[in-house]
């Protein structure tokens, strides 16, 4: 079995059964909220590391908020779903999140494990030594 890129992070936070058995390798189109500059390394960090890098506290209000998904990258299954999910956020929240653009990638089976969630959202748990930046493209602004 291949190692996950952030297996140490998962272990350090005692996240059991992470990622769970529902996750699979698959090929799928995926869309992610990103910063306009495609080379910005923040575009390719899972939430936990993103917050650390930005010197932000982890956004939690309950003990069960340190979830497995914080060690994954968030995507949506379609451009429409990605935009819908963004525009339902109050403007203040959009501003705090900071994302302005929509990025596209064709996830391949060798990139990692995919987990589908509600509202067209999916998580990608990257495999070790995977660098997504070369496979990514910015396809437009979010607003």
């Amino acid at each position: 079995m291949k190692n996950l890129k952030y297996h140490q992070l998962i272990a350090n936070n005692s996240l059991n059964n992470c990622p769970d058995n529902e996750c699979n390798e698959m090929e799928t189109d995926a869309f992610r909220w990103v910063y306009e500059d495609i080379s910005n390394e923040l575009n390719y960090l899972p939430t936990f590391l993103y917050n650390e890098k930005q010197n932000r506290p982890q956004r939690k209000n309950s003990t069960d908020d340190m979830k497995c998904s914080m060690c994954a990258l968030s995507f949506y299954v379609s451009q429409e779903k990605a935009k819908e999910a963004f525009v339902v956020l109050p403007l203040r929240v959009r501003e705090m999140l900071g994302y302005t653009h929509l990025g596209y990638i064709n996830i391949s089976k060798d990139m990692g494990l995919v987990n589908f969630e509600l509202n067209g959202h999916l998580d990608l748990f990257e495999y070790e030594n995977i660098d997504l930046s070369g496979s990514f493209s910015i396809i437009g602004a979010l607003n």
């Binding site: 939430t47 010197n55 506290p57 982890q58 956004r59 939690k60 209000n61 914080m70 109050p90 203040r92």
Partner: protein
């Protein structure tokens, strides 16, 4: 972080708070639903952060409002600003889940940057764990919400012969006119707001037609005594996109502002309406409503569900009415093509056909036929100077042409009279008949034989 003005407290006054679900999340919670040990519900809404804490606004919410939010009929802004509370709590939570700087903040002290815009309705999939809540409120939610958004019309009779009751006929006509006014407003408003988005006019008409069916006023409350009826407008069935949904949710209120909450005694406000709407739209929207306000049998009062709005009316003066509906437009129906019908009536022997009622006409009608023209027969002629007793009937052909011009013609006597209605034509032909008779008696007749000599038995001077 924004500076918070509030009263610092040591801890939240709730016990046993546990998260139920994150209603909105992205890489962590954004809007979370909590419940305390007494089953009270609370929302945590993420509004700010610095390098050590995230700040949340926390407030209590009842289950019905939570249901409305999940169903998309109440926005997050409305939940936050609901006046059922005076203040919310501001709390700061660090990465170790320690609560800091807890403050009670009055609604009007919430920093401007934390204000939520109107379009903050919930559009995501409803988490399955809320299905019991949805089922609980679904059955009476529709009626409850329609009532809350409704307008209440009270009709007070002009005289109290029958106490404060209103005749069923008046109530029926009132409802019909109100519906007509409202549905015409819907059509006008939808056209003006969305017609530019349609390339195909027939598609536009189809959508308007669908909305007029959906939005036909629903009766949501009824009382007699003084006749009270509350009118609501559907918000659940819809056609198309979010913009339409938003328009649909606001249309009854728009009608209230544009038609109901109008000072009909003010030329200024009526001129404003006249500038905004074309005459035909004004006739269709305001015509029926002005008829209601000027009905001699009752007076109208309008309120909303929470009684925060109340409108009473005086009769609308004719001069004011004409600002909205110029007379030529109002009488537009007179320009419609008039037709002649021959009818066969069955009447009782003693019934006078000249005094027959509409009901009698309907009941006695055996059959009818459209006529191109009709022969009118008079056995006597009552002029302005003479009364003529006739030896034989005087006959003429009566027609209405395509321009609604009325004509009476008798070729034998060379008479042809034209007028804008029946009475004018009859007066004209009598006048011609009389004039010719006077000419004859004065020796001015130039023909070979005098047709009047065989027709007229006696000409009795009325002077």
């Amino acid at each position: 972080m924004e500076k918070i003005k509030g009263n610092i407290i040591s801890q939240l006054p709730f016990q046993g708070l546990k998260k139920v679900s994150d209603l909105i999340e992205y890489d962590g919670p954004i809007l979370s639903h909590f419940r305390d040990e007494y089953d009270n519900d609370y929302l945590y809404y993420w509004v700010d952060f610095n390098e050590s804490v995230n700040r949340w606004l926390v407030w209590k919410i009842d289950e019905l409002h939570l249901y409305k939010y999940l169903k998309g009929t109440e926005s997050l802004k409305e939940l936050l600003e609901n006046k059922d509370k005076d203040f919310v709590y501001s709390i700061e939570i660090d990465s170790e889940l320690q609560y800091k700087n807890i403050a009670a903040v009055y609604l009007n002290q919430i920093p401007e940057k934390y204000q939520i815009e109107e379009e903050s309705t919930y559009k995501l999939d409803i988490p399955k764990l809320y299905l019991p809540v949805i089922e609980k409120y679904e059955s009476d939610f529709y009626l409850t919400t329609l009532r809350e958004l409704s307008l209440e019309f009270t009709l007070e009779p002009s005289n109290h012969k029958y106490s404060t009751t209103i005749s069923a006929l008046d109530a029926g006509i009132f409802l019909k006119k109100l519906c007509n006014s409202y549905l015409n407003f819907i059509q006008e408003d939808f056209f003006s707001k969305f017609k530019h988005t349609f390339g195909d006019y027939s598609r536009l008409q189809k959508v308007v037609g669908q909305f007029k069916e959906i939005l036909t006023p629903r009766i949501v409350e009824l009382e007699y005594g003084s006749f009270k009826v509350s009118i609501g407008s559907d918000f659940t069935h819809t056609v198309g996109n979010d913009e339409y949904n938003k328009w649909q949710r606001e249309i009854l209120n728009a009608y209230k502002e544009e038609v109901i909450d109008v000072d009909y005694s003010s030329s200024e406000s009526l001129n404003r309406i006249a500038e905004k709407y074309e005459v035909d739209a004004r006739r269709r929207i305001y015509g029926p409503y002005l008829d209601i306000l000027n009905d001699k049998d009752y007076k109208v009062e309008v309120t909303n569900y929470k009684k925060t709005f109340r409108k009473v009316y005086n009769r609308v003066e004719t001069s004011k009415r004409k600002i909205l509906i110029p007379e030529t437009i109002e009488n537009n129906h007179d320009n419609e093509k008039r037709k002649l019908y021959s009818v066969v009536l069955e009447l009782d022997e003693k019934q006078d056909i000249k005094n027959i009622s509409t009901k009698g006409l309907k009941e006695g009608l055996l059959f009818s036929q459209e006529m191109k023209d009709v022969e009118i027969i008079w056995n006597e002629i009552d002029g302005t100077e003479y009364y003529f007793e006739l030896n034989q009937p005087f006959k003429f052909i009566f027609t209405i042409d395509n321009n609604n011009s009325y004509k009476a013609e008798n070729k034998e006597f060379g008479l042809e009279a034209i007028g804008s209605d029946k009475d004018e034509v009859f007066q004209n032909i009598i006048h011609q008949f009389e004039e010719n008779y006077i000419k004859i008696t004065n020796g001015d007749f130039a023909g070979d034989s005098n047709p009047y000599s065989t027709l007229i038995k006696n000409a009795i001077s009325l002077n």
